[in-house]
Amino acid sequence: MMGRDDRATSPAVLSTRRTVRLLLMTSTDEELVARSRLGDVDSFNQLIVRWERPIYALAYRVLGHEEDARDVCQDTFLRAYRALPGFKGQAKFSSWLYRIALNLCRDWIRKQRRAPVSQMPEDVDPSEIGVDTGPVESIEDLVARRELSAIVEDAMQSLSEEQRTAIILKEYHGMTFQEIADMQGCPLSTVKTRLYQGLSQLRRHLERQGQGVPKLVRRR
């Protein structure tokens, strides 16, 4: 007689699981949302797998704290899951998710009264030596890249929250002007102005940061 564990690892069951996983992976966001709304938690978990990195990156760039960004990321999906019955699909799921995350970031900044962007560790993270970089990048290049990253993060800190969010959504999440306008609840022209002013300020800040920046760029 087949035990419970035997049944769980039987070829037929494994094959079914593989098929289900494949189905989930190849489904569109809309399909996964529809199934999640019917109570399929696996579908929602697939949405989490698909979107947790971008949401975490957004939260980190807005908040500047790794732990806080992780918490916001988790809260975003919890809220989305609870609010799923109310999501009628007027907007893209990702836009809806980004909006929730940005609202949470805003609340977080208000509550914690922390500086929006924190200091990035200036030193090299050794764990990244083997993870992010290929064998081509030397330690010098890595250090230079990390220094530049810290300078950019510092420059981003000098922007207003609206400018920073507009630039983050545009540069790192590839949103259109209209999507950013919807997200920020402002006219399209305001988004362009925020981007223009933000980029101008960033440029000035990066130039003021000393001779290091252009040199590093030339080296790269």
């Binding site: 938690v41 975490y56 790794e66 919890l78 950019v152 760029v217």
Partner: protein, 242 residues
């Protein structure tokens, strides 16, 4: 040309930079940039700034958050399902009320029985009160005093002795019964107190274990940070060496 783009139009330049404008406008701006040093240098600087922005990467984080699957609900049949608090309270009130009314009815019938000369039926539950016992004690003492004053020891005396012995025995039995009952009540109370204390201790132990685990996690983090710092130092030293 100037109808769709004017020199220094920041919105149009940003749209050109991000390639979010109509092809016609784009070609117009491109033609303008070829002639205007101010606008072209600005667009170039923006392009350089965007390149720098590309270097900003968030730290690698362990995410992997998942929604838990809903637990399967085991539904008890309706007759075995626990009652809600309000129903339990109502049932308690009903039982108390019924008990009270029965007690009142029995008390009345017993009083009527005594009044009519019939002996009241005593049950195990009917325990003598302190007043009854002291009254009985007084009666016994009075009877014993009468016996002492009686001069000759007669057959009647032996009869009264037997009666006294029986009554004393009955009193002793009642006293023992009462002690047994009190002992049982104390045992139950003791067991309940012990259980409550056990739960409190268990919760306290769990909390302490949680704190220890938290402390261990913090220590691991500190060690990791220390290792990071050492690695950074080594990298810097190796750089200086080169």
């Amino acid at each position: 040309m100037s109808e769709i783009f004017e020199c220094g139009d920041s919105g149009a330049l940003v749209a050109y930079l991000y390639d979010e404008c109509e092809p016609e406008v784009r070609s117009t701006i491109a033609a303008h940039l070829a002639r205007c040093v101010s606008c072209s240098s600005e667009v170039e600087a923006f392009g350089w700034t965007r390149q720098q922005l590309g270097t900003w990467t968030p730290p690698v984080a362990e995410l992997g958050f998942q929604m838990p699957a809903p637990a399967l609900e085991y539904r008890l049949p309706w007759w075995r399902a626990p009652l809600p608090a309000w129903a339990q309270a109502a049932a308690a009130v009903l039982i108390f009320g019924a008990g009270l009314s029965i007690g009142v009815a029995r008390g009345t019938s017993a009083a009527e029985g005594v009044a009519s000369g019939q002996p009241a039926v005593t049950t195990v539950a009917d325990t003598p009160s302190q007043g009854d016992l002291s009254q009985m004690e007084r009666r016994l003492r009075a009877e014993m005093a009468q016996l002492r004053t009686a001069a000759p020891v007669t057959a009647a005396v032996s009869t009264s002795d037997e009666a006294i012995m029986q009554r004393v025995q009955a009193l002793v039995e009642q006293s023992e019964e009462r002690q047994r009952r009190e002992f049982t009540i104390r045992s139950v109370e003791l067991a309940r107190d012990f259980e409550a204390q056990r739960r409190v201790d268990l919760a306290s132990v769990r909390q302490t274990v949680g704190q220890i685990q938290g402390t261990t996690g913090a220590e691991v983090r500190q060690q990791r940070e220390a290792i990071d710092q050492i690695s950074n130092y080594l990298i810097r030293v190796s750089q200086q060496g080169r």
